[in-house]
Amino acid sequence: MSVIRVPEADAQGWSCDACGEPLVPAPVDLEYLDSRFTVELPRCAKCGFVLIPEALAMGKMLEVEKLLEDK
C-alpha cells in the first residue's frame, strides 16, 4: 500500500522525552472502523511513539473519520 504524505505532519523541534530521540518521519498504520491507511508521521525511532499533530487530527483526519463513518 502506498504511503500517504500529509503537510500537517510537521513535528520540527519535538523529541521523545523518554528516549531523547528527535521525531523523524516514518510510515505508520492508522485504522478506523474497517479501514487502514499508511501515513508518514513523526515517530520516535527508538520506542515508536507517534505524534498526531493538532492540525492533522482536527483537519484531514476528522474529515476522513466522518467519511468512513458514513460508508
Binding site: 513535528a11 523541534g13 519535538w14 523529541s15 521523545c16 522525552d17 523518554a18 521525531l23 505508520v28 498504520d29 492508522l30 485504522e31 478506523y32 472502523l33 487502514r36 508521521l41 520506542c47 515508536g48 511513539f49 507517534v50 505524534l51 498526531i52 493538532e54 487530527a57 482536527m58 483526519m61 476528522l62 476522513v64 473519520e65 466522518k66 467519511l67 463513518e69 458514513d70 460508508k71
Partner: protein, 755 residues
C-alpha cells in the same frame, strides 16, 4: 423501511400536490408557473408554459374563461388571479411555442367527425403523437371564428390549423353519420371520435358516453364535446383522444385516469400572513405589460411548507419531508457506498412540531427515530454522532452521580424527587434547595439522581435504553413504588411511558400544593414562557408551571409559537450532539424569536437558549434564588466538564450533609494540580474534551514517562486513549502541577500504538 411504508409516508406530505388552480383547470395548465413568469415579465417562457399544455394554444389562451379562478386561494385575500386576462395578454405578445417535431408515424389512423373545439383538440393531440387524423367538418373551428365579438384575431385559428396539417391532419368535407356509416368508418380507421357539438348522435345506438373514457356502446367510437365552455370542450377532446389511443394499443381504458377531470387538490396553503391585494382591473383593450406583471405578482405561488417554515432543521437541508423520506429510505437501502442522509437522520430534534403543523400529520420524529434504530441495528450508526451524549448518560447513572434513597431518617417514601440529570448538571443548588423545601412539607420524600434514559432513546439505542430503564424500575420498586415528582418534562414523559404503574407528577404541581417560599412572593416581573417541546401534548404541565410562576407574582407573557406549537431549543433528539452547528443555530433562532426576558421549566432549554443569547431563568431560579450566585438569568450555561462536576458534587453534598456519610476518596487523576488557559478551556468545550480526560492523560504521562518535549519552549505533549477517542494534551510543568495550553482528539488510531 419497506417501499410500501415509504409510499404511505410520501403520500402524507402534500407539498408536491398540484396547486389549486392547476387541479381545477380542465386541461391542468400550470398556472402557478405561468403567473410566476408573468410576474417576471418573461412573456416567452410564460407562453411556453401555456403552449406545453393547451391544444391550439393561440386559440384556447384567448377563449379560456378561467375555471381555475373559483379555486384560487387568492380569492380570500383580495380576489382570484385573473388568469384569462393574463393568458390573453401573453398570447398577444406573439410568443411562439417551441417548434413541434412530428413524432414518427405509428401507422394508426383516427377519424374525427366534427370540427368544434373538442374535435380539433382531439385531432391536435393525436397528430402530435404521430397518429394520422382525418377530420370531417364543414369548416373546422367555424363556430369559434363566427362568434359575435370573437376574441380571436384574424389568422390565429388558421395558423393553428396549418400547423395541424403540417403534422398530418387531413381536413375533409363532412360526411353523413348513421349507425352503418360509423361501422364502416370503424373498418377503415382504428378509432372514431365524434364531436357532438357539430354532430347529432341521437338514434345512432351509441348510448350515453362513459364519463371517464367517453367510450360508447360501439367499441372504438368515442363521443366528445358534450359541454358548453371552450376549455371543457377542449378537455373532452383530449380525453377522447387519450381513450382512442389506449383503445388502439389495447391498454387499460381506465387505469390512472382518476385525476383527468378537475379535482380538489390536497395541497394546503396557509394564507394567514398574506396581505390583501385587489386584482388589477382589466381595461377594455386588455392588460398592458405593467398591469400583467402586477397581476402575475399577486399570485401567492401556493405551496405548503408549513413544517419547513417553523423548523430550522427542515429548512437547513433544503427540501421538505416528502423528499427527506425518499433520501432516508435510500440511505437505509445502501449496501456498499456512502450513506448521505446520516446527518439528516441524526439532526432531527424530534420535537413533534412538524407533525402538529402538517395537514397530513407527517412525523419526521417517527421517521428519524426508526432510521436511527435501523442504523444502530445494522451497525452503521456513525460512532461520533451520539457517543459523547451516551457517555454522559452513563456517567449520570454511574457511581459518581447516581443516588436512590429514602429521605434521611425515613424508612419509606411516599414520594420520590426526580430532578433529572440536566437540572443537576445545570444548577445543582436549585435541586438541593427544592429537595430541602419539599422535605419540609412532605417528609417521606425520597430522592433519585440519575438519567431518565432519553439520550439512549433519542440515539435509537433501544437495548441501552431498556437496560437503563430496568435499573431505574428496580430502584423505584425497592423504594416502595413511591409517586415520582419530576422537575424535567422530558424525564416525566420517559417515566410515564416506561413505568405505567407509577404515579408521575410534575414538580410544579407539587410545589403549588406544598406552598412556595414566602420570601419569593411578589416577584413583580413579566417574563415570556418558553414551553419545552416535550410538553407539546401536556397542557396540564404547561398550566402547572404557569400557575406556579403566577403564584409568586410573575406576569406570564405568551409567545406566538408556544403551547402545542412550541419550538425546540436545539437539544431535542440530541441535535446539539450530532450536529453542534445546527444545534446552535436552532437555539439562536428560538432565542431571537421570543420577546423580552424568558422563563422556562426545562434545564436544558434554559441552558440552550442562554447559549443562544437569551436572558432566561429556570422556574427554580425564581423560586430558589441565590444572592451569592449573582444574576441567575444572565448566567452562562455550564460547560460539559462543569456539568459533570455539578452532578458529582451534588451527590457528595447530599451524602455528607443529609446522611452524614463520608464522600468517596478522590481518584488519583483528580488529585493532580491542573490549571488551564482560557483559550484552552474554550477549545476543549468546542471539541468535547473533558477536564477529566485531560487529567487522565497527564496522569498516564506521569506514570509511564511517555511524553514528547519541545526543547525551546519546555512544553510537553502527552497522549491517552481511554476507550474510543485518543486525547492529546499540550502542557507545561508548573511548580506543583500542570498548566494546560491545548488539547485535541481523534478517533482514528495508530495500529498497535498508544495513540
Amino acid at each position: 423501511m419497506e417501499q410500501a411504508d415509504l409510499r404511505k409516508l410520501e403520500a402524507q406530505c402534500v407539498q408536491e400536490e398540484p396547486p389549486f388552480c392547476t387541479a381545477a383547470c380542465p386541461l391542468h395548465v400550470d398556472a402557478r408557473a405561468f403567473c410566476s413568469l408573468m410576474g417576471q415579465g418573461d412573456w416567452d417562457k410564460a407562453w411556453a408554459v401555456l403552449a406545453r399544455t393547451l391544444p391550439l394554444p393561440g386559440v384556447l389562451s384567448r377563449l379560456c374563461h378561467g375555471p381555475c379562478m373559483e379555486a384560487c386561494v387568492r380569492s380570500a385575500k383580495g380576489g382570484a388571479i385573473n388568469i384569462p386576462a393574463l393568458e390573453r395578454f401573453c398570447a398577444e405578445q406573439g410568443g411562439r411555442a417551441a417548434r413541434t417535431i412530428p413524432m414518427p408515424a405509428k401507422g394508426k389512423r383516427v377519424c374525427v367527425l366534427g370540427g368544434g373545439l373538442a374535435g380539433l383538440s382531439a385531432a391536435w393531440d393525436l397528430v402530435r403523437k404521430g397518429i394520422r387524423v382525418v377530420l370531417h367538418s364543414e369548416r373546422p373551428g367555424l363556430d369559434l371564428a363566427r362568434e359575435g365579438a370573437s376574441p380571436l384575431p384574424a389568422g390565429v385559428l388558421d395558423a393553428e390549423l396549418e400547423r395541424m396539417v403540417r403534422l398530418g391532419a387531413d381536413f375533409q368535407a363532412p360526411v353523413a353519420m348513421t349507425a352503418e356509416s360509423l361501422q364502416a368508418l370503424l373498418e377503415e380507421f382504428d378509432a372514431v371520435i365524434v364531436d357532438c357539438a357539430e354532430q347529432d348522435i341521437e338514434g345512432l345506438g351509441l348510448g350515453e358516453p362513459d364519463t371517464m373514457t367517453l367510450g360508447t356502446n360501439m367499441p372504438g367510437v368515442f363521443v366528445a364535446g358534450q359541454c358548453d365552455e371552450h376549455v371543457f370542450q377542449a378537455a373532452s377532446g383530449r380525453k377522447a383522444a387519450l381513450s382512442a389511443e389506449r383503445f388502439m394499443q389495447g391498454a387499460s381504458m381506465v387505469a390512472g385516469r382518476e385525476r383527468e377531470d378537475p379535482y380538489p387538490s390536497k395541497l394546503f396553503t396557509n394564507v394567514d400572513d398574506v396581505a390583501e391585494v385587489a386584482p388589477e382591473p382589466v381595461p377594455e383593450q386588455g392588460y398592458d405589460a405593467q398591469q400583467a406583471r402586477a397581476e402575475g405578482l399577486r399570485c401567492i405561488r401556493c405551496e405548503c411548507l408549513e413544517c419547513v417554515k417553523h423548523c430550522e432543521y427542515l429548512a437547513r437541508f433544503g427540501s421538505y419531508p416528502k423528499v427527506y423520506a425518499r433520501q432516508i429510505y435510500n440511505n437505509q437501502s445502501i449496501v456498499m457506498g456512502t450513506r448521505q442522509a446520516n446527518t439528516l437522520i441524526n439532526s432531527c430534534t424530534m420535537c413533534g412540531l412538524c407533525e402538529e403543523l402538517c395537514p397530513g400529520d407527517f412525523s419526521m420524529e417517527d421517521l428519524c427515530l426508526q432510521a436511527r434504530r435501523e442504523l444502530v441495528e445494522q451497525g452503521n450508526m456513525p460512532p461520533s454522532a451520539h457517543e459523547f451524549a451516551l457517555r454522559d448518560m452513563h456517567f449520570a447513572n454511574g457511581p459518581d452521580c447516581a443516588l436512590a434513597r429514602h429521605a434521611p431518617g425515613e424508612k419509606t417514601s411516599t414520594h420520590l424527587f426526580f430532578p433529572g440529570c440536566q437540572l443537576t448538571a445545570s444548577r445543582p443548588a436549585a435541586v438541593r434547595a427544592a429537595y430541602d423545601h419539599l422535605r419540609a412539607h412532605i417528609p417521606a420524600m425520597g430522592i433519585m439522581l440519575r438519567c431518565c434514559g432519553a439520550p439512549a432513546h433519542w440515539a435509537g439505542r433501544t437495548r441501552e435504553y431498556e437496560r437503563s430503564m430496568d435499573e431505574l424500575r428496580s430502584q423505584w420498586e425497592s423504594l416502595g413504588r413511591p409517586a415520582i415528582v419530576c422537575a424535567c418534562p422530558t424525564c416525566q414523559g420517559m417515566l410515564q411511558n416506561a413505568l405505567p404503574a407509577a404515579a408521575v407528577v410534575d414538580l410544579w404541581q407539587v410545589l403549588q400544593g406544598a406552598g412556595v417560599p414566602e420570601s419569593v412572593k411578589g416577584a413583580d416581573m413579566e417574563l415570556t414562557v418558553h414551553d419545552p417541546c416535550t410538553t407539546r401534548y401536556e397542557p396540564e404541565i404547561r398550566q402547572q408551571a404557569r400557575g406556579l410562576l403566577q403564584s409568586v407574582g410573575v406576569r406570564v407573557r405568551e409567545a406566538d409559537m408556544s403551547g402545542n406549537l412550541t419550538e425546540c431549543c436545539g437539544f431535542g433528539g440530541l441535535l446539539a450532539e450530532a450536529n453542534p452547528e445546527l444545534g446552535a443555530d436552532v437555539a439562536k433562532r428560538r432565542a431571537d424569536s421570543l420577546p423580552g426576558e424568558l422563563v422556562t421549566y426545562c434545564a436544558m432549554c434554559r441552558d440552550m437558549l442562554a447559549k443562544g443569547g437569551a436572558r432566561i431563568s429556570h422556574v427554580l431560579d425564581i423560586l430558589f434564588p441565590d444572592p451569592s450566585a449573582g444574576d441567575l438569568a444572565a448566567r452562562p450555561a455550564p460547560g460539559y466538564s462543569r456539568r459533570r462536576e455539578n452532578r458529582a458534587h451534588l451527590r457528595e453534598g447530599l451524602l455528607t450533609d443529609l446522611w452524614r456519610e463520608p464522600g468517596d476518596p478522590p481518584k488519583p487523576y483528580e488529585e493532580l494540580a491542573v490549571s488551564f488557559t482560557e483559550a484552552c478551556l474554550a477549545t476543549m468545550e468546542q471539541r468535547r474534551i473533558l477536564e477529566s480526560d485531560v487529567r487522565k492523560t497527564l496522569l498516564r504521562a506521569r506514570e509511564t514517562g511517555r511524553r514528547l518535549v519541545y526543547a525551546q519552549s519546555g512544553r510537553y505533549r502527552a497522549v491517552f486513549r481511554p476507550v474510543a477517542v485518543t486525547y492529546w494534551v499540550e502542557f507545561e510543568e508548573t511548580g506543583d502541577g500542570y498548566l494546560v495550553h491545548n488539547a485535541w482528539c481523534h478517533r482514528m488510531r495508530v495500529a498497535g500504538g498508544a495513540a
